[in-house]
């Protein structure tokens, strides 16, 4: 597929497409995922979950369950220390250990259908399951609060008794955890200067990341207080920090071994099974494995927020945006911490707008505590803004991509939350899409339409560590702490191979456990190839520095007199007698020149905004007027990817994100009954796209190098999920004349909208007669 080459003609390995080092294990079934570990004497843990959305726990009785042969231990919140309530910075997130602990095992109250209440360890999973049925919990059901709108109403039932926010003050119990606001310019004057102002209201449903591998962990507890947990996670160090806080143990006493991970998309950046497996291991003295079923994953791990959004934007008739106002309420789930802040930080950041007001609310409701999902907060937020922009473009009669290009952020544009963009590629991305064969092709046929939309994600930096070991045979190992979720081992090996001048198959990438590498933040925020890649680059440079020192010693010159190029060390011709040595030859002499060469590096690359990325997407749909079913005919995504280290895997990220965005747009949603019990707890009725639902997703890589990275890398993993829902809504409008302002645009919802549209047209026609 098209690659707009701008960056990496100068590289040897970067930009090529070698096969991935972990491939063989994955196609032979040897790769070990979270549920694949078996240890001698291992017990099996199962979790008892609340059948109520909101209830007080009056008592838990488990004597009968304990008597069941094969049952070894039962734990509840009483087995956990009461954790600190004050929010703390933990890795990339602000977390209250207390809330985290209450989410792991409910304390006093259950706050959602599926909330863990107790856990059993037994000699087989089947016995553990049976034991759950023997535990008696006495609940006092309370009225559930299921949406942000309900939760923000005065007099709404309160979920968390001691929750307060600054605005309402210390005496006012509330369900609103935070109100965030960004302001710029003079909003009223901005709207006055507009020729056309449109204001609309939007709603999006709770959706799940839908990784195919359910969560699983094995805990092992040693009598000396040291413990190990094998777990499928995006961040082994994050698990170490969070689990030790919840268990009240020193951080250094827990070793976290990350398994292969069967997808995460943000959903495996916190803890669920880990502390429970460890607690049961401690109580029984045996390794304990806790594996979730799919229904547990859907009911009780963190999906992403449904939101309520209001968007008002004004433009001049020439197409200049003069003012924008966005109001958003995010459903955090049972505890504070929705992705409202990143939603507010990204919602309209693609555009250079003089007058702005953005308000965001983080609201607790009786749904599972949300967790990150690919570009957290951005997709739902962009749905409203990118649909309103489409309406405005139509009103003033300009091409919707031109409207975006005309107002697009560029180098020097200040973002609504402060920082000024360095070199970015938003305009180039929109232009690439505008120039694409797809956008310029003709779409014909009844009930068909084409839509476009754009998206922004700032991408994260944070901390990473890397080591590069040169072996005696001149090959190298690259060790990092970044869990490989989509092929990052290949990228790490490629970066080291590039610097060391080695063939790619002579570099072995390894993902280490928390005892074997320096601190590394979670695999999230599209940060691994960026930040861990930078650490690998620096560690490989550290190797080069040492190789030069060794050669200099042998040649009796200074390291500055030695050059390293493509795996060969040479004296600089102008200074000395020519000498040369390959890395391989030197490696064979390590024993006589000072021992093995170990390169190390760690980086702290700043928080959000490390390598901003943009995507723009063009979608053709066909709507079945009798069923409301939307078929995606064709889709092309252009994305500002920086230097593409491994173009195939970059394309894979774009395709995967787009596919998830399409699922979000058309089908996926949590459906609760009136009591707040989740009705679609399986993949049969939480419907994710199959291969029949998707065309081949076409990609355009726009390589605008990131100036803050030595190789020009930007994060590529997330932004592709942002534009599809709005683009599809815009395409549906072109196909049917109906503007959809609620997600998902599922057949029943679209059918209803089509029917209303027909009725109102008939009404108008009748009135006109």
């Amino acid at each position: 597929m098209a690659v707009k080459k701008e960056a990496h003609h100068k590289y040897r390995v970067v930009g090529t497409r070698p096969i991935r080092p972990d491939g063989i294990e994955k196609v032979t079934g040897r790769a070990l995922y979270g549920a694949d570990y078996y240890f001698p004497g291992m017990l099996f843990g199962k979790i008892l979950r609340s059948p109520y959305a909101h209830a007080r726990i009056k008592s838990i009785k488990f004597d009968k369950a304990l008597k069941l042969p094969g049952v070894r231990a039962i734990v509840t919140a009483d087995d956990l220390p009461e954790a600190d309530r004050k929010p703390q910075q933990m890795g990339e997130q602000q977390v209250s250990p207390y809330y985290l602990s209450c989410n792991v095992l409910a304390r006093g109250k259950v706050l959602y259908d599926g909330h863990p209440v107790a856990a059993v360890a037994a000699t087989s999973p089947h016995i553990a399951e049976e034991a759950l049925r023997l535990i008696e919990v006495d609940y006092e059901p309370l009225e559930p609060v299921m949406t942000a709108d309900e939760a923000m109403k005065p007099g709404a039932p309160i979920l968390i008794d001691d929750l307060r926010n600054q605005e309402e003050g210390p005496d006012q119990p509330t369900n609103v955890a935070t109100h965030l606001q960004f302001k710029r310019g003079d909003l009223a004057a901005g709207f006055d200067a507009a020729d056309c102002v449109i204001e609309r209201e939007f709603r999006t449903a709770t959706v799940h990341q839908g990784y195919i591998e359910p969560h699983a962990s094995v805990g092992i507890w040693n009598p000396d207080g040291h413990a190990t947990v094998y777990t499928c996670t995006q961040g082994s160090f994050t698990v170490r920090t969070l689990a030790t806080k919840v268990l009240g143990m020193p951080e250094g006493n827990l070793k976290v071994v990350p398994s292969e991970i069967g997808g995460g998309f943000g959903g495996k950046t916190t803890i669920y099974c880990e502390p429970i497996a460890l607690l049961l291991a401690k109580k029984t003295g045996h390794p304990v494995k806790v594996t979730m079923s799919r229904s547990e994953v859907l009911r009780a791990t963190g999906p992403t927020s449904g939101i309520h959004e209001r968007v008002k934007i004004g433009v001049t008739k020439e197409g200049r945006i003069t003012a924008a106002q966005v109001w958003m309420a995010y459903e955090a789930g049972a505890f504070p911490g929705s992705p409202m802040a990143p939603g507010a930080m990204t919602v309209i950041t693609s555009y250079d707008i003089p007058n702005l007001l953005i308000d965001g609310y983080d609201v607790v409701v009786n749904r599972p505590k949300t967790c990150a999902y690919r570009a957290p907060g951005a997709t739902a937020a962009a749905f409203g803004v990118e649909t309103v922009l489409d309406e405005l473009a139509e009103q003033i009669g300009i091409d919707p991509l031109d409207l975006r290009i005309m107002n697009g952020a560029h180098e020097g544009t200040q973002q609504p939350f402060g920082p000024v963009f360095k070199r970015i590629g938003f305009i180039e991305t929109c232009e690439a899409l505008k120039a694409s064969e797809h956008y310029n092709s003709k779409l014909t046929g009844a009930n068909r339409g084409r839509g476009v939309a754009a998206g922004f994600w700032f991408n994260a930096g944070f901390q990473s560590s890397a080591s590069v070991y040169v072996n005696q045979d001149g090959t190298a190992s690259v060790v990092t702490g970044s869990v490989d979720i989509g092929g990052s081992r290949a990228s790490m090996a490629m970066i080291a191979a590039e610097v060391l001048g080695l063939p790619i198959d002579e570099v072995r990438p390894v993902v280490a456990d928390t005892d074997s590498i320096g601190y590394t933040d979670v695999t999230a925020g599209s940060r691994v190839t960026f930040a861990t890649g930078m650490a690998v680059y620096n560690a490989a440079q550290d190797v080069v520095r040492q190789l030069k020192e060794r050669a200099a010693k042998m040649w009796e010159c200074t390291p500055d007199d030695v050059e390293f190029d493509n795996g060969v060390l040479r004296t600089r011709g102008d200074v000395l007698q020519p000498q040369q040595l390959t890395l391989k030859e030197l490696a064979a002499r390590f024993i006589r020149t000072g021992g093995p060469v170990v390169g190390r590096a760690s980086v702290s690359t700043g928080g959000a905004g490390a390598g901003p990325a943009f995507a723009a997407i063009c979608v053709d749909v066909e709507v079945d007027p009798d069923t409301g079913k939307v078929q995606i005919l064709r889709v092309t995504i252009a994305q500002d990817v920086g230097t593409a280290i491994h173009p195939s895997y970059v394309e894979g990220q774009l395709q995967g994100g787009t596919a998830q965005g399409i699922g979000w747009a058309l089908n996926e949603e949590y459906v609760y009954d009136s009591k707040g019990v989740l009705r679609n707890t399986g993949l049969l009725d939480y419907r994710m796209p199959t291969c029949l639902d998707l065309p081949a997703i076409e990609t355009i890589l726009v390589e605008v190098p990131n100036p803050t990275h030595p190789l020009g890398v930007r994060g590529v993993g997330e932004v592709s999920i942002v534009p599809p829902p709005a683009a599809i809504a815009n395409a549906i409008y072109r196909a049917t004349g109906v503007r959809m302002r609620e997600l998902p645009m599922s057949p029943p919802r679209l059918m209803k909208a089509l029917q209303e549209h027909r009725n109102s047209r008939e009404g108008q026609a009748a009135a006109g007669r």
Binding site: R17, I19, R20, D22, G23, I24, K26, V27, T28, G29, R30, A31, L32, Y33, A35, D36, Y38, P125, H126, Q209, G210, Y211, I212, E213, P214, E260, I261, G262, G263, G264, F265, S293, R294, I485, G486, G487, S648, Y649, G652, Q655, G656, T658, A659, Q660, G682, L683, L684, M688, T690, C691, L692, L694, A696, I697
Partner: protein, 156 residues
């Protein structure tokens, strides 16, 4: 409890198991063949696909006793010695996975397809593979890998 005898990946296995033991649990829990994955437990995601007497089945729905006297092939039994099956090679060469957890199921399902229809059209591939979910790839590279294996192409 029931005694069953099954050929698993060409080797005879005899075990005493409870009547209600699922095939996926028999493979993973009783035999330690963890290459077969469980993603949904209701026959929707296809991660647990194995071949029972040559036919693809969702091992999360099948009872182990159904395999009594029969033959089961799992992902662990596909390579011949150190020679990968062409589908395994194609999935590597064409990047037919990211996280890889759906891959054993994708490969077993597509093996059944190619056994029945060695040269499927892209539409036939999609029709057959719609029972195998992948959340990472958007499917394009999976379909490409299967096509390549069918055409016996190894390099992209």
């Amino acid at each position: 409890m029931k005694n069953i005898q099954v050929r698993v990946n060409g080797h005879p296995v005899a075990r005493e198991i409870p009547d209600h033991r699922l095939l996926v649990d028999f493979l993973r829990y009783d035999l330690g063949l963890t290459g077969t994955k469980e993603g949904c437990s209701v026959g929707v995601c296809g991660a647990c696909t194995v071949l029972l007497n040559g036919q693809p089945v969702s091992s999360c729905l099948a009872l182990a006793v159904m395999a009594d006297g029969g033959e089961v092939t799992t992902i662990e039994g596909l390579a011949e010695g150190d020679r990968l099956h062409p589908l395994q090679q194609a999935f590597i060469d064409y990047g037919g996975f990211q996280c890889g957890v759906c891959t054993p199921g994708q490969i077993m399902a597509s093996k059944a397809l190619l056994d029945a229809n060695p040269h499927p059209t892209p539409a036939q591939i999609k029709e057959w593979m719609m029972g195998n979910l992948c959340r990472c790839t958007g499917y394009y590279k999976i379909i490409e890998a299967i096509q390549a294996a069918a055409a016996e192409k190894t390099e992209p």
